[in-house]
Amino acid sequence: MLVPLSWLKKYVEIDLPPKQIAHMLTMAGVEVSNYKEIGAHLDDNKFIVGEIIKIEPHPNADRIKLPMVDIGSQNTVQVVCGAPNIREGQKIAFAKIGAKVFNTHSEKVEQLREANIRGVKSEGMICSIKELGIGDDHEGILVLDDSTEVGIPISNVVSDVIFNIDVTPNRADCLSILGVAREIAALTNKTVLEPEISFSTIDKLTKSVISVDIKDLDLCRRYTASVIEGVTIKQSPQWLQDILIKIGQRPINNVVDITNYVMLETNQPLHAFDITSINNRSIIVRKAKSKEKLTTLDGEDRELEPPMLVIADTSGAIGLAGIMGGANSEISDSTHTILLEAANFEPINTRKTSSHLRLSTAASYRFERTLSPELAEIGLRRATRLIKQIAGGEVYDQIIDVGSKASDAQLIPFDKTRFNQVLGSEITYEDAIKTLESLGFIKNNSQNRDMNLFDTIEPSLEDTTYFTPPYWRPEIDIQEDLIEEVARITGYNAIPTTMISAPIPHHRPKSMWHFKEQIKDKISALGMDEIITYNVNSELELVNTNSWDIDNPPLSLANPMINDQRFLRSSLVANMLKTVSMNKKLSRDEPLRLFELGRIFIPNSNKDKLSLPIEKESLVSAFCGNRNARNWSYKPVQMNFYDAKGVLQSLLNEFGLEVEFKDKQDVLYIDGRAATVVHEGQIIGDIGELNPEVLKNFDLESSLTTIFRLDIHQLHNLVGSQDKTYEQFSKYPESSRDLSLIVDKDLLADQIEDVFKKHKYVKDIFPFDIYIDESLGTNKKSVTFQIIFQSQKGTLTAEQIDRCMEDLLNKLQRSMKVELRQG
């Protein structure tokens, strides 16, 4: 919303600098996002108002004229000017020699010099808006209003400040200049000068030439109309054109410009019909018929449907109520008598119609935000007065006024106790009441308790004042609204700060959030970098990562940002691989150890598609590239399954969880290089080297990539809030023995380990040398274990250990094919 300071000044006295006005409004909730100072740079000695007293043709050029310009103080100068719109008698912006003007050829601000144009001397310049540096228009010279005084500085005439205001949806009133003026008045203790709305009428009744029938009073609450006969449709006077141009509108003709002007001034949208185009002189406000056709003023053919509201005559629709007029009733240059409409249309239906037709206009925008029916008559009278004044004509007596005149405004209690309870401030109740009055709220102590049913507190009789909001604030509804009014006008900064005095409420024990943060801490301490990705994927990405459940496909978005982000992810893998791939291109073989702890979305079973999906917290970690960062001390080694497993085991150890790894078959992984992670029979995750077929989809086919995944909810349940229990450790020394075995190639390490681990003296066993060689026999491998012995009760002797080894070896040989390796 663009608001010129000059326009505001018509209704309220303003003597503050623009910066302060902007700040004041912003603090009060009417945010001035920026403001532009126009013409402040114009030198008052160099740029002055002139009048063209005579125009001579140039002797050597057809299109160039030689105007004589009166620049006041009995000075007349001759200039050379090529503007097409130059006329005798015009008041213009004159730049003297030495003035800094914008040169439209060089696109630079340059000092004006005396010029000789094709043999004629030019002692200055008649400027366009662009040359003055106050706008982009360079169609012709700037023509000032006829009443402008010759000789005064141009800045007096053209300089202005344009405030750009972001109006919040609750403040429809501030979509009007008057609304902003009322804010400034309340904030600066000034009064608002309301615009004149009176006019004289002739002795013919409006209703004698037009009838209005509202078929749906819920959708059109009030319809007012006036008839002005004998108007002359022509260009608007300069001041009106100027003001519209300033706020970015294109002047059309005097009547249309006035309807726009009055809407911007008062907020009431208006529409002017050529009365001859209204069939039977009969206006009917009704719902559109199914597939009813209307060509709107923008030239679009629209097909309408109920309950869209139309303005119609007896032959059909002539306007889209509250949105846009119809081309069939548009006023033209030959229009002699106009019907001026100012009505009140229901917000929701207007909004639905506007969004359905994808047609949002200044009028629909205002009606959507709720206007009071009271405003209709005010707007109508204001515009009627201006049309009579500017376009001429006579106004018929007694405007048409159908529907309810009163606004919905009710009595709102303003209770002293509640005021203090909510604000907790030092603002006195008396000052608060004064503030409300300054905003136009009407104090009303009538005993008629027909108040808003939604009063939030039982009012006590003596400490409660009742207010009716002014018609321009129909959104004011409950007493908290009144409290905000007081607070914002007094200034939020005037309200003191305190800390909550109530005791801290009971908190539930450690939540999922804390558990997740704990995991992030632990896994990042293991050298993993956290990533956070979008929660969406393309269908292909999910299919390619085996994450698309055909029986229960992922939820999709009706309006994704881009098509590749249509599906709510059912797995974190695709986004992880995209991230690995992108970083891989940048870092080549440098180690990438990434994790994401995020949500996946599992739709509810097909039966109830409308209920919310299950949101599961999930963890994915990926390992790709070399084990160590570039360094002189290592030979590069690619990370593999065991690097991932090491991190996974360390993580689970941190939570005191013992897990088993069971061979897993999954198209996601390379066969024989993946495992499920099992805790006491329950699968809590998986791990594996990714199938090159999968990696290919992410340009990673030549990069060995291992991932592991964990179900965080299951992990949370398993870990619970249990504390770790201290286990006593032995104070006696440990001993070790190595054991080299030749075993079947597919014998798993933990099958041997399990046998050993059961023995009370075996503290630990781990394989440290594994090799496969033909010399060992077909399908055989050699595994060397180191076994650590320790007892809680005493130092183990060599004999004890030997015996133990012997026992274990016997046991091993009984249960599987193992052979002691010699040498």
Binding site: T497, I500, W513, I532, A558
Partner: protein
């Protein structure tokens, strides 16, 4: 022998001494040390042989020569001891070579937390220290919780400010009931529906808006909701709590301001800004630079009523903080899109 022979003999001893010491310092093992000891100081060693050669000298030269040999022999014995210590102390193996101390150390993989995770933690910590509990809520929400219960009915113009990504499921009325939450505020309702006051909680989480992305807009971002409902909670408490938060996060000297703003679920509504230039002590000369960091207000009485609270008894405040904005401010990040691009050159900096 003449003078020359005298000189030659003394020089000879010096020469032998210097060779012996060079050889000694080159010994790296006990074996080589012993070998050296036998060669120079052994029973048939060079020193003994030299001593024996005294008799071959003219008697006049003998004392001087003897002295020279004795002192050389003493030096060798002393050096032998120190070399012995050196050799044995180096694990009986090699003596440690000197290092190029400028070579880089062996790299350790130090992981990192995403800057958004870190910022969420910083913010949460500020509030948990003031008695707020952390909870989370669903990211896929119902229109009912995301809008209707928050005083944003269908077709309300306030919905213009919440461009929504809708789940592609229609109910029997042809309406879409599910959406990606546009803010963390639905958890206000979900909590109040199931819990009586006192309430003091914060809700961190992802939120979504259908908005074109640029350096300061993401369609996918993070928010932290706050809610406190109790007896006697007033606007001054809201200010106090949020001012304290600002100081905890941006430092003791930060200037904070509240201005009126509109959110349909609070009344009165406010927006808080901090003066970014006020954080440093020498702020006198600087222009104010107010940066909006959160929206807040007193919980709308219609909402308290809708969840069945006694509005005579209870009041509350709520606020919503944009996490990315704060992370960008704190770390001088100029493009919001960096957060979800996950370039490790970016992530590694935090």
């Amino acid at each position: 022998m003449n003078k020359n022979t005298e000189k030659d003999s003394a020089q000879n001893i010096d020469k032998i001494l210097s060779i012996a010491l060079t050889e000694l310092s080159a010994t790296k093992t006990l074996d080589s040390l012993n070998e050296w000891k036998v060669r120079y100081l052994g029973r048939k060693g060079i020193v003994v042989q030299l001593k024996r050669s005294i008799s071959e000298l003219p008697s006049k030269e003998r004392p001087k020569f003897g002295q020279a040999i004795n002192s050389a022999s003493k030096i060798l014995e002393q050096k032998l001891i120190s070399q012995h210590t050196k050799v044995t102390s180096s694990d009986n193996k090699n003596i440690r070579e000197s290092l190029d101390v400028t070579l880089p150390g062996v790299p350790i993989n130090s992981g990192s937390l995403h800057p958004i995770t870190q910022t969420i933690r910083d913010i949460c910590e500020a509030f948990t220290s003031m008695g707020f509990e952390i909870i989370e809520g669903p990211e896929i929400e119902l229109d009912y919780y995301n809008f209707q219960m928050l005083n944003i009915p269908k077709h309300h113009p306030a919905r213009d400010g919440f461009n929504t990504l809708w789940i592609d499921q229609k109910d029997s009325n042809g309406e879409r009931p599910m959406l990606l939450r546009t803010h963390t505020s639905p958890m206000q309702i979900r909590t109040m529906e199931t819990q009586d006051p006192p309430i003091r909680l914060i809700v961190p989480g992802k939120v979504y808006r259908y908005e074109a992305t640029d350096s300061s807009h993401e369609w996918h971002f993070s928010q932290i909701e706050g809610l406190a409902v109790d007896k006697d909670i007033s606007f001054t408490d809201l200010k106090g709590t949020l001012y304290e938060f600002a100081r905890k996060l941006f430092g003791e000297d930060v200037k904070v301001r509240f201005r009126c703003d509109y959110f349909p679920f609070v009344e009165p509504g406010a927006e808080m800004a901090i003066d970014w230039n006020s954080r440093t002590k020498d702020n006198d000369t600087k222009e104010e630079n107010w940066i909006e960091i959160l929206g807040a207000g007193m919980v709308h009485p219609k909402i308290l009523k809708a969840v069945g609270y006694d509005t005579n008894k209870y009041t509350g405040f709520a606020f919503g903080i944009g996490v990315e904005r704060i992370a960008m401010l704190k770390h001088g990040i100029d493009d919001i899109r960096l957060f979800y691009n996950n370039d490790i050159r970016f992530l590694g900096q935090f």
